[in-house]
Amino acid sequence: MKLEKIESKIAVLPIDNVDTDQIIPARYLKSISKDGLGEGLFRDWRLNADGTPKADFVLNQPQAKGVQILVTGDNFGCGSSREHAPWALVQNGIRAVISTSFADIFKGNALKNQLLPVVVPADAHAELLKSPWAVVKIDVVDQTVTLPSGRTVKFPIDAFSKTCLVEGVDELGYMLQQESAIAAFEAKRVGSVNTLL
């Protein structure tokens, strides 16, 4: 699957440190597949105990239908390493999250699921926070975000992740191609325990 451009309304969630327990509570982690995680997304922020939607949660608003870009506060995705978090976001149609920073493990997991973590500077972030439901464009190749004002800002992404996204490269396939380097490393290891068990 390739990811080159995203154009979408933004849903704004102005909360810092959104942790992966909020993104997908632990009770959804008993699943042995990736199926059905979408219904767990922000479950306890989205729904009341009786299962009815909470009126004030951003993703419950009528304008949220079809939204592919989430704008959040700082340090999005902190906490547990559960990859179920990007799975739940992707299963709800989210393709990018824009923030001022992302937790390391979440960022890596997101990229492996074609969910784009986009870091923008504080002033661009401030503009986005003030523009709920505005349309924003993200260009992965150019590494730009076009803000509601029309101004563009650059966002960082490492070259390898970008290639994987834009060209649909299978990361494991790439790694398996390095079999001879792996075997050579194993053969020449000095000292470290080669076999533990």
């Binding site: 632990a26 008993k30 042995i32 105990a49 700082d74 990859e83 490492d158 194993e186």
Partner: protein, 475 residues
């Protein structure tokens, strides 16, 4: 103590040394391919990775470097009872099937070595200095206490390691966290790390790995070092290390998977080269004076929202940043706490002593030392969950189980238990717990549950008094 750099080579931190010796291949424009010495596996983050292997017709490359346990979904009630949760049971059964099909050693619920993945690795001598260690679990940072580069990975990467025994990685920066001085009575390792995170915030270590240094760190036991390294991730750092020293080697000598004989001597010689070189540079640094530390407790909904036990809950009115202010208001609303008031004296419903942070024998001894001869408050239910069946056995040999039960606490089988609400041990909505675990996020211990994170000493003292308590008043 610090190894001098070899003539002609640049000074390196311990992290750089481990990194350099594990790079399999490096191509321009791509992350390095890093070899993994030890892959720890549990039932929650592995099923989809095994499915991927089956779909692609791949095997586990090094089953001999892979070890699995059951910990998150497992009930902590008697193993003879049928499991009540069919979904959890299905996950455990799948784990059994996966390990059998792929030839991976599994410490299942019938074995004497089962336990929380980050407790069993070290206690068996699997965790060793200078290793790269990964697991689909963010508290893999725990193993850094041995001077290993240990970090959490997602399920996709679990699959990568299964198939290639490698990961694509870019190096992190190293952030030196120095703690010097003597801990005062009642103050323990958990309070150190809670104080660090309160100081730098839960995003403070993003992009970095922590190296813990200083006289206080050197004075700690391996179990205490594990408590600190465990919560590195709560400070935003993917990993946290303590360079190995004689404390490390004494802990490791003779453990089941530790090297023996000539292999031990050779390993020791290698390990002694690991500590950070004298002139090596860190990207960031923080210094704490241990003498100034008090028992800590968190009041809010992330591990950085912590205060000294004698402190007051912060007031949102004094927070300038609008999102930070609204987040604090939201946290206080969720926890139903008043700004400016002390947290000490707040009534509690549950005390949990357990989790990969604080469930080892020294943690149980610490809690027992406060509980002994006293009773758990009738308003409190207390759960003590040893981190592994080996810890449980040792606790029983020392009579700790009797101390807990005589006081009215529940002493359980090993597992992650109430750290996260996925195995039957959890809070009811609105209940307050003092917990020795590592996360106080909204709903973490149960939907609507309210968590105060603290040390085993603080937890035990609070269990007796029925309110958040300064353990120093009971010493």
């Amino acid at each position: 103590m610090k190894a001098s750099s070899e003539a002609g080579s640049r000074p390196r931190t311990i992290v750089e040394k481990i990194w350099d010796s594990h790079v399999v291949a490096e191509k321009p424009g791509a992350p390095a391919l890093l070899y993994v010495d030890l892959h720890l596996v549990h039932e929650v983050t592995s099923p989809q990775a095994f499915t991927m292997l089956r779909e692609r017709g791949l095997k586990v490359r090094r089953p001999d470097l892979t070890i699995a346990t059951m910990d998150h979904s497992t009930p902590t009630t008697s193993r003879d009872l049928p499991m009540l949760d069919p979904v959890g049971k299905a996950q455990l059964d799948q784990m059994t099937r996966n390990c059998k099909d792929f030839g991976i050693r599994l410490y299942d619920l019938k074995t004497t070595k089962q336990g929380i993945v980050h407790v069993i690795g070290p206690e068996q001598g699997l965790t060793q200095p200078g290793m790269t260690i990964v697991c689909g679990d963010s508290h893999t940072a725990t193993h850094g206490a041995f001077g290993a580069l240990a970090f959490g990975i997602g399920t996709s990467q679990v699959g990568h390691v299964f198939a290639t025994q490698c990961l694509l990685q870019t190096p992190s920066k190293t952030y030196a966290i120095r703690v010097d001085g003597a801990l005062r009575p009642g103050v323990s390792a958990k309070d150190i790390i809670l104080a660090v995170i309160a100081r730098i915030g839960i995003g403070g270590g993003t992009g970095s790995v922590f190296e813990y240094l200083g006289s206080t760190i050197r004075s700690l036991s391996m179990e205490e070092r594990m408590t600190i390294c465990n919560m590195s991730i709560e400070g935003g750092a993917r990993a946290g290390l303590v360079a190995p020293d004689d404390t490390t080697y004494q802990y490791m000598a003779g453990r089941e998977f530790a090297p023996k004989g000539a292999d031990w001597d050779a390993a020791l010689a290698r390990w002694r080269q690991l500590p950070t070189d004298h002139d090596a540079e860190y990207a960031h640094a923080l210094t704490l004076d241990a003498n100034e530390l008090e028992p800590m407790v968190t009041f809010g909904t992330n591990p950085g929202m912590g205060i000294a036990i004698s402190g007051n809950i912060p007031d949102p009115a004094s927070v300038a940043d609008p999102i930070e202010k609204s987040d604090l208001i939201k946290a206080l609303k969720y926890m139903d706490l008043q700004p400016g008031k002390p947290l000490k004296g707040h009534p509690i419903d549950v005390v949990f002593v357990g989790s990969c942070t604080n469930s080892r024998i020294s943690d149980l001894r610490a809690a027992a030392s406060i509980i002994k001869g006293r009773k758990v408050s009738p308003k409190v239910r207390m759960l003590v969950v040893p981190g592994s069946m080996q810890v449980k056995k040792q606790a029983e040999a020392e009579g700790l189980d009797k101390i807990f039960r005589d006081a009215g606490a529940d002493f359980r089988e090993a597992g992650c238990s109430m750290c996260l609400a996925m195995n039957g041990d959890q809070l009811e909505p609105g209940e307050y717990s003092v917990s020795t675990s590592n996360r106080n996020f909204e709903g973490r211990q149960g939907k609507g549950g309210r968590t105060f994170l603290a040390s085993p000493l603080t937890a035990a003292a609070s269990a007796i008094m029925g309110v958040v308590t300064d353990v120093r008043t009971l010493l």
